[in-house]
Symmetry: C2
Subunit: 150 residues, 2 copies
Amino acid sequence: MNSPRWLDADEQRAWRAYLRMQGRLTARLNRQLQADSGLSLADYDVLVHLTDREEGRLRPYELQRDLQWEQSRLSHHLTRMQHRGLVTREECADDGRGAYVVITEEGRRAIAAAAPGHVETVRRLFFDGLTREQVTALERLAADVLDRLD
Amino acid sequence: MNSPRWLDADEQRAWRAYLRMQGRLTARLNRQLQADSGLSLADYDVLVHLTDREEGRLRPYELQRDLQWEQSRLSHHLTRMQHRGLVTREECADDGRGAYVVITEEGRRAIAAAAPGHVETVRRLFFDGLTREQVTALERLAADVLDRLD
DNA sequence: GCCATGTAGATGATGTGTCATCTACTGGTG
DNA sequence: CACCAGTAGATGACACATCATCTACATGGC
Protein backbone atom coordinates (compact mmCIF):
# COMPACT_ATOMS: atom_id res chain seq x y z
CA MET A 1 0.00 0.00 0.00
CA ASN A 2 2.91 2.38 -0.65
CA SER A 3 2.21 5.84 -2.10
CA PRO A 4 -1.42 5.49 -3.08
CA ARG A 5 -2.80 7.13 -6.17
CA TRP A 6 -4.37 10.19 -4.56
CA LEU A 7 -7.44 11.79 -6.03
CA ASP A 8 -6.81 14.65 -8.42
CA ALA A 9 -8.66 17.96 -8.15
CA ASP A 10 -11.62 16.91 -10.31
CA GLU A 11 -12.05 13.66 -8.49
CA GLN A 12 -11.74 15.31 -5.14
CA ARG A 13 -14.44 17.86 -5.92
CA ALA A 14 -16.72 15.22 -7.38
CA TRP A 15 -16.24 12.92 -4.44
CA ARG A 16 -16.92 15.60 -1.86
CA ALA A 17 -19.98 16.80 -3.74
CA TYR A 18 -21.29 13.26 -4.00
CA LEU A 19 -20.77 12.55 -0.32
CA ARG A 20 -22.44 15.78 0.64
CA MET A 21 -25.42 15.25 -1.62
CA GLN A 22 -25.81 11.70 -0.48
CA GLY A 23 -25.81 12.57 3.18
CA ARG A 24 -28.12 15.52 2.92
CA LEU A 25 -30.55 13.78 0.60
CA THR A 26 -30.83 10.66 2.70
CA ALA A 27 -31.38 12.72 5.82
CA ARG A 28 -34.13 14.74 4.20
CA LEU A 29 -35.91 11.72 2.78
CA ASN A 30 -35.73 9.91 6.06
CA ARG A 31 -37.06 12.85 7.96
CA GLN A 32 -39.97 13.44 5.62
CA LEU A 33 -40.99 9.81 5.65
CA GLN A 34 -40.63 9.49 9.39
CA ALA A 35 -42.52 12.69 10.11
CA ASP A 36 -45.37 12.09 7.68
CA SER A 37 -45.90 8.38 8.06
CA GLY A 38 -43.92 7.02 10.99
CA LEU A 39 -41.92 4.77 8.68
CA SER A 40 -38.17 4.81 8.13
CA LEU A 41 -36.61 4.35 4.69
CA ALA A 42 -35.69 0.84 5.80
CA ASP A 43 -39.28 0.04 6.76
CA TYR A 44 -40.40 1.45 3.43
CA ASP A 45 -38.03 -0.74 1.45
CA VAL A 46 -39.09 -3.87 3.27
CA LEU A 47 -42.77 -3.13 2.75
CA VAL A 48 -42.28 -2.30 -0.93
CA HIS A 49 -40.61 -5.63 -1.53
CA LEU A 50 -43.34 -7.47 0.31
CA THR A 51 -46.12 -5.80 -1.65
CA ASP A 52 -44.28 -6.59 -4.88
CA ARG A 53 -45.35 -10.22 -4.44
CA GLU A 54 -49.09 -10.60 -4.52
CA GLU A 55 -49.22 -12.88 -1.52
CA GLY A 56 -47.32 -10.31 0.48
CA ARG A 57 -45.01 -13.00 1.80
CA LEU A 58 -41.34 -13.70 1.32
CA ARG A 59 -38.61 -15.84 2.77
CA PRO A 60 -36.17 -13.69 4.69
CA TYR A 61 -33.28 -14.86 2.54
CA GLU A 62 -35.09 -13.58 -0.56
CA LEU A 63 -35.60 -10.25 1.09
CA GLN A 64 -31.98 -10.22 2.05
CA ARG A 65 -30.88 -10.92 -1.50
CA ASP A 66 -33.14 -8.20 -2.91
CA LEU A 67 -32.29 -5.57 -0.35
CA GLN A 68 -28.63 -6.52 -0.08
CA TRP A 69 -28.78 -6.14 3.67
CA GLU A 70 -26.76 -7.93 6.28
CA GLN A 71 -28.63 -10.98 7.42
CA SER A 72 -28.51 -9.87 11.01
CA ARG A 73 -29.74 -6.40 10.22
CA LEU A 74 -32.71 -7.85 8.41
CA SER A 75 -33.54 -10.20 11.24
CA HIS A 76 -33.41 -7.43 13.84
CA HIS A 77 -35.36 -5.09 11.64
CA LEU A 78 -38.10 -7.62 11.01
CA THR A 79 -38.37 -8.19 14.74
CA ARG A 80 -38.92 -4.49 15.32
CA MET A 81 -41.42 -4.25 12.48
CA GLN A 82 -43.20 -7.26 13.91
CA HIS A 83 -43.49 -5.55 17.27
CA ARG A 84 -45.02 -2.56 15.55
CA GLY A 85 -47.55 -4.77 13.79
CA LEU A 86 -46.30 -4.13 10.25
CA VAL A 87 -45.35 -7.72 9.47
CA THR A 88 -45.74 -11.16 11.00
CA ARG A 89 -43.64 -14.27 10.79
CA GLU A 90 -45.00 -17.64 9.76
CA GLU A 91 -43.46 -21.07 9.72
CA CYS A 92 -42.28 -22.53 6.48
CA ALA A 93 -43.59 -26.00 5.70
CA ASP A 94 -41.09 -26.83 2.95
CA ASP A 95 -37.97 -26.04 4.95
CA GLY A 96 -37.82 -26.65 8.65
CA ARG A 97 -35.12 -24.05 9.16
CA GLY A 98 -36.97 -21.37 7.27
CA ALA A 99 -39.73 -18.88 7.85
CA TYR A 100 -41.97 -16.49 6.00
CA VAL A 101 -42.34 -12.79 6.54
CA VAL A 102 -45.86 -11.64 5.79
CA ILE A 103 -47.11 -8.09 5.48
CA THR A 104 -50.11 -7.33 7.72
CA GLU A 105 -53.16 -5.27 6.88
CA GLU A 106 -51.67 -2.52 8.97
CA GLY A 107 -48.48 -2.82 6.99
CA ARG A 108 -50.41 -2.43 3.75
CA ARG A 109 -52.19 0.62 5.06
CA ALA A 110 -48.92 2.16 6.21
CA ILE A 111 -47.13 1.74 2.89
CA ALA A 112 -50.16 2.93 0.92
CA ALA A 113 -50.36 6.04 3.07
CA ALA A 114 -46.62 6.72 2.92
CA ALA A 115 -45.90 6.16 -0.77
CA PRO A 116 -47.39 9.28 -2.36
CA GLY A 117 -45.63 11.70 -0.06
CA HIS A 118 -42.36 9.85 -0.34
CA VAL A 119 -42.40 9.72 -4.13
CA GLU A 120 -43.36 13.37 -4.26
CA THR A 121 -40.40 14.22 -2.05
CA VAL A 122 -37.98 12.18 -4.15
CA ARG A 123 -39.24 13.99 -7.21
CA ARG A 124 -39.10 17.40 -5.66
CA LEU A 125 -35.68 17.07 -4.04
CA PHE A 126 -33.99 15.06 -6.73
CA PHE A 127 -35.52 14.63 -10.16
CA ASP A 128 -37.01 18.09 -10.53
CA GLY A 129 -33.53 19.58 -10.58
CA LEU A 130 -32.16 17.24 -13.24
CA THR A 131 -32.42 16.89 -16.99
CA ARG A 132 -33.38 13.65 -18.65
CA GLU A 133 -29.77 13.26 -19.79
CA GLN A 134 -28.52 13.58 -16.24
CA VAL A 135 -30.93 10.90 -15.12
CA THR A 136 -29.82 8.39 -17.71
CA ALA A 137 -26.16 9.26 -17.09
CA LEU A 138 -26.69 8.59 -13.40
CA GLU A 139 -28.25 5.22 -14.05
CA ARG A 140 -25.29 4.35 -16.22
CA LEU A 141 -22.79 5.54 -13.65
CA ALA A 142 -24.44 3.60 -10.85
CA ALA A 143 -24.53 0.47 -13.00
CA ASP A 144 -20.84 0.87 -13.87
CA VAL A 145 -19.84 1.25 -10.24
CA LEU A 146 -22.02 -1.65 -9.18
CA ASP A 147 -20.37 -3.90 -11.74
CA ARG A 148 -17.06 -3.42 -10.02
CA LEU A 149 -18.49 -3.94 -6.55
CA ASP A 150 -19.42 -7.57 -6.99
CA MET B 1 -51.08 15.38 -1.67
CA ASN B 2 -53.54 13.95 -4.22
CA SER B 3 -52.27 11.81 -7.10
CA PRO B 4 -48.54 12.39 -6.88
CA ARG B 5 -46.38 12.53 -9.97
CA TRP B 6 -45.03 8.99 -9.93
CA LEU B 7 -41.62 8.21 -11.28
CA ASP B 8 -41.51 7.07 -14.90
CA ALA B 9 -39.58 4.00 -15.98
CA ASP B 10 -36.26 5.82 -16.56
CA GLU B 11 -36.46 7.61 -13.26
CA GLN B 12 -37.41 4.46 -11.44
CA ARG B 13 -34.44 2.53 -12.80
CA ALA B 14 -32.07 5.39 -12.11
CA TRP B 15 -33.35 5.82 -8.57
CA ARG B 16 -33.09 2.15 -7.73
CA ALA B 17 -29.61 1.94 -9.22
CA TYR B 18 -28.51 4.98 -7.29
CA LEU B 19 -29.87 3.68 -4.00
CA ARG B 20 -28.27 0.34 -4.55
CA MET B 21 -24.89 1.78 -5.45
CA GLN B 22 -25.00 4.17 -2.56
CA GLY B 23 -25.78 1.52 0.00
CA ARG B 24 -23.26 -1.01 -1.25
CA LEU B 25 -20.50 1.53 -1.71
CA THR B 26 -20.91 3.05 1.73
CA ALA B 27 -20.96 -0.37 3.32
CA ARG B 28 -17.78 -1.42 1.55
CA LEU B 29 -15.93 1.77 2.36
CA ASN B 30 -16.95 1.59 5.97
CA ARG B 31 -15.90 -2.00 6.29
CA GLN B 32 -12.53 -1.47 4.70
CA LEU B 33 -11.77 1.52 6.86
CA GLN B 34 -12.99 -0.15 10.02
CA ALA B 35 -11.11 -3.37 9.36
CA ASP B 36 -7.83 -1.77 8.31
CA SER B 37 -7.63 1.13 10.71
CA GLY B 38 -10.32 0.87 13.37
CA LEU B 39 -11.88 4.13 12.19
CA SER B 40 -15.39 4.64 10.86
CA LEU B 41 -16.15 6.94 7.94
CA ALA B 42 -17.52 9.40 10.47
CA ASP B 43 -14.31 9.33 12.51
CA TYR B 44 -12.37 9.79 9.31
CA ASP B 45 -14.36 12.86 8.30
CA VAL B 46 -13.93 14.47 11.68
CA LEU B 47 -10.20 13.86 11.72
CA VAL B 48 -9.77 15.13 8.15
CA HIS B 49 -11.46 18.38 9.04
CA LEU B 50 -9.35 18.77 12.15
CA THR B 51 -6.10 18.19 10.30
CA ASP B 52 -7.18 20.70 7.66
CA ARG B 53 -6.47 23.45 10.19
CA GLU B 54 -2.84 23.54 11.20
CA GLU B 55 -3.56 23.90 14.87
CA GLY B 56 -5.71 20.80 14.72
CA ARG B 57 -8.40 22.54 16.69
CA LEU B 58 -11.91 23.66 15.78
CA ARG B 59 -15.02 24.90 17.48
CA PRO B 60 -17.71 22.22 17.34
CA TYR B 61 -20.07 24.57 15.54
CA GLU B 62 -17.53 24.96 12.75
CA LEU B 63 -17.23 21.23 12.41
CA GLN B 64 -20.97 21.00 12.38
CA ARG B 65 -21.23 23.54 9.59
CA ASP B 66 -18.56 21.81 7.51
CA LEU B 67 -19.81 18.30 8.03
CA GLN B 68 -23.48 19.22 7.90
CA TRP B 69 -24.19 16.91 10.80
CA GLU B 70 -26.87 17.20 13.42
CA GLN B 71 -25.50 19.04 16.40
CA SER B 72 -26.41 16.21 18.69
CA ARG B 73 -24.79 13.61 16.50
CA LEU B 74 -21.59 15.59 16.50
CA SER B 75 -21.60 16.01 20.24
CA HIS B 76 -22.16 12.30 20.85
CA HIS B 77 -19.57 11.36 18.28
CA LEU B 78 -16.95 13.64 19.76
CA THR B 79 -17.60 12.15 23.17
CA ARG B 80 -16.99 8.67 21.81
CA MET B 81 -13.86 9.78 19.95
CA GLN B 82 -12.66 11.44 23.12
CA HIS B 83 -13.07 8.20 25.02
CA ARG B 84 -10.98 6.46 22.39
CA GLY B 85 -8.26 9.08 22.71
CA LEU B 86 -8.58 10.49 19.19
CA VAL B 87 -9.55 14.01 20.24
CA THR B 88 -9.74 16.08 23.40
CA ARG B 89 -11.93 18.98 24.37
CA GLU B 90 -10.58 22.27 25.64
CA GLU B 91 -12.28 25.28 27.08
CA CYS B 92 -12.76 28.33 24.91
CA ALA B 93 -11.52 31.54 26.42
CA ASP B 94 -13.36 33.89 24.05
CA ASP B 95 -16.80 32.38 24.53
CA GLY B 96 -17.85 30.96 27.86
CA ARG B 97 -20.42 28.68 26.25
CA GLY B 98 -18.03 27.29 23.72
CA ALA B 99 -15.30 24.69 23.51
CA TYR B 100 -12.56 23.50 21.24
CA VAL B 101 -12.09 20.07 19.81
CA VAL B 102 -8.43 19.24 19.40
CA ILE B 103 -6.92 16.30 17.59
CA THR B 104 -4.50 14.27 19.69
CA GLU B 105 -1.21 12.74 18.63
CA GLU B 106 -2.98 9.42 18.53
CA GLY B 107 -5.65 10.96 16.32
CA ARG B 108 -2.98 12.20 13.92
CA ARG B 109 -1.36 8.81 13.80
CA ALA B 110 -4.70 7.14 13.16
CA ILE B 111 -5.69 9.36 10.25
CA ALA B 112 -2.24 9.21 8.71
CA ALA B 113 -2.34 5.44 8.86
CA ALA B 114 -5.88 5.21 7.52
CA ALA B 115 -5.78 7.67 4.65
CA PRO B 116 -3.76 5.78 2.03
CA GLY B 117 -5.85 2.64 2.23
CA HIS B 118 -9.07 4.57 2.23
CA VAL B 119 -8.18 6.67 -0.80
CA GLU B 120 -6.99 3.59 -2.60
CA THR B 121 -10.31 1.91 -1.91
CA VAL B 122 -12.32 4.90 -3.09
CA ARG B 123 -10.30 4.88 -6.28
CA ARG B 124 -10.56 1.19 -6.83
CA LEU B 125 -14.27 0.85 -6.09
CA PHE B 126 -15.44 4.08 -7.61
CA PHE B 127 -13.21 6.14 -9.86
CA ASP B 128 -11.44 3.31 -11.64
CA GLY B 129 -14.73 2.30 -13.23
CA LEU B 130 -15.62 5.77 -14.50
CA THR B 131 -14.55 8.00 -17.34
CA ARG B 132 -13.46 11.57 -16.79
CA GLU B 133 -16.75 12.74 -18.33
CA GLN B 134 -18.73 10.69 -15.87
CA VAL B 135 -16.81 12.20 -12.99
CA THR B 136 -17.47 15.76 -14.04
CA ALA B 137 -21.10 14.94 -14.81
CA LEU B 138 -21.46 13.53 -11.31
CA GLU B 139 -20.01 16.62 -9.74
CA ARG B 140 -22.46 18.70 -11.73
CA LEU B 141 -25.39 16.50 -10.80
CA ALA B 142 -24.55 16.57 -7.12
CA ALA B 143 -24.18 20.34 -7.21
CA ASP B 144 -27.54 20.71 -8.96
CA VAL B 145 -29.30 18.55 -6.41
CA LEU B 146 -27.61 20.30 -3.51
CA ASP B 147 -28.77 23.66 -4.81
CA ARG B 148 -32.35 22.57 -4.41
CA LEU B 149 -31.79 21.08 -0.97
CA ASP B 150 -31.03 24.34 0.79
C1' DG C 1 -27.55 -44.61 9.04
C1' DC C 2 -23.79 -41.45 10.33
C1' DC C 3 -21.06 -37.70 10.04
C1' DA C 4 -19.36 -33.32 7.91
C1' DT C 5 -20.47 -29.33 5.94
C1' DG C 6 -23.55 -25.90 4.54
C1' DT C 7 -27.68 -22.89 4.96
C1' DA C 8 -31.76 -20.29 7.36
C1' DG C 9 -32.45 -17.59 10.79
C1' DA C 10 -32.22 -15.52 15.72
C1' DT C 11 -29.76 -13.19 19.42
C1' DG C 12 -26.75 -10.30 22.66
C1' DA C 13 -23.31 -6.84 22.97
C1' DT C 14 -21.80 -2.78 21.42
C1' DG C 15 -21.29 1.36 18.65
C1' DT C 16 -24.03 4.91 16.12
C1' DG C 17 -27.89 8.45 14.79
C1' DT C 18 -32.03 11.16 16.11
C1' DC C 19 -35.23 13.58 18.84
C1' DA C 20 -36.48 16.21 22.65
C1' DT C 21 -34.85 18.71 26.10
C1' DC C 22 -31.63 20.99 29.22
C1' DT C 23 -27.91 24.27 30.92
C1' DA C 24 -25.08 28.06 30.46
C1' DC C 25 -23.49 31.95 28.41
C1' DT C 26 -24.02 36.12 24.96
C1' DG C 27 -25.72 40.30 23.31
C1' DG C 28 -29.12 43.56 22.36
C1' DT C 29 -33.26 46.55 24.13
C1' DG C 30 -35.72 48.84 27.51
C1' DC D 1 -28.94 47.00 35.39
C1' DA D 2 -32.82 43.74 34.12
C1' DC D 3 -34.66 41.22 30.84
C1' DC D 4 -35.02 38.13 27.03
C1' DA D 5 -34.19 36.11 22.69
C1' DG D 6 -30.60 33.60 20.63
C1' DT D 7 -26.51 30.52 20.44
C1' DA D 8 -23.04 26.73 21.99
C1' DG D 9 -23.04 22.57 23.53
C1' DA D 10 -24.31 18.27 26.43
C1' DT D 11 -27.41 14.56 27.65
C1' DG D 12 -30.94 10.65 28.10
C1' DA D 13 -33.99 7.76 25.71
C1' DC D 14 -34.67 5.16 21.99
C1' DA D 15 -34.26 3.26 17.18
C1' DC D 16 -30.89 1.26 14.18
C1' DA D 17 -26.52 -1.38 12.24
C1' DT D 18 -22.76 -4.62 12.84
C1' DC D 19 -20.16 -8.33 14.63
C1' DA D 20 -19.64 -12.65 16.65
C1' DT D 21 -21.94 -16.42 17.86
C1' DC D 22 -25.60 -19.83 18.34
C1' DT D 23 -29.39 -23.24 17.09
C1' DA D 24 -31.64 -26.04 14.04
C1' DC D 25 -32.39 -28.17 9.91
C1' DA D 26 -30.64 -29.86 5.12
C1' DT D 27 -27.81 -32.45 2.15
C1' DG D 28 -24.22 -35.11 0.19
C1' DG D 29 -20.48 -38.76 0.85
C1' DC D 30 -19.12 -42.69 3.05
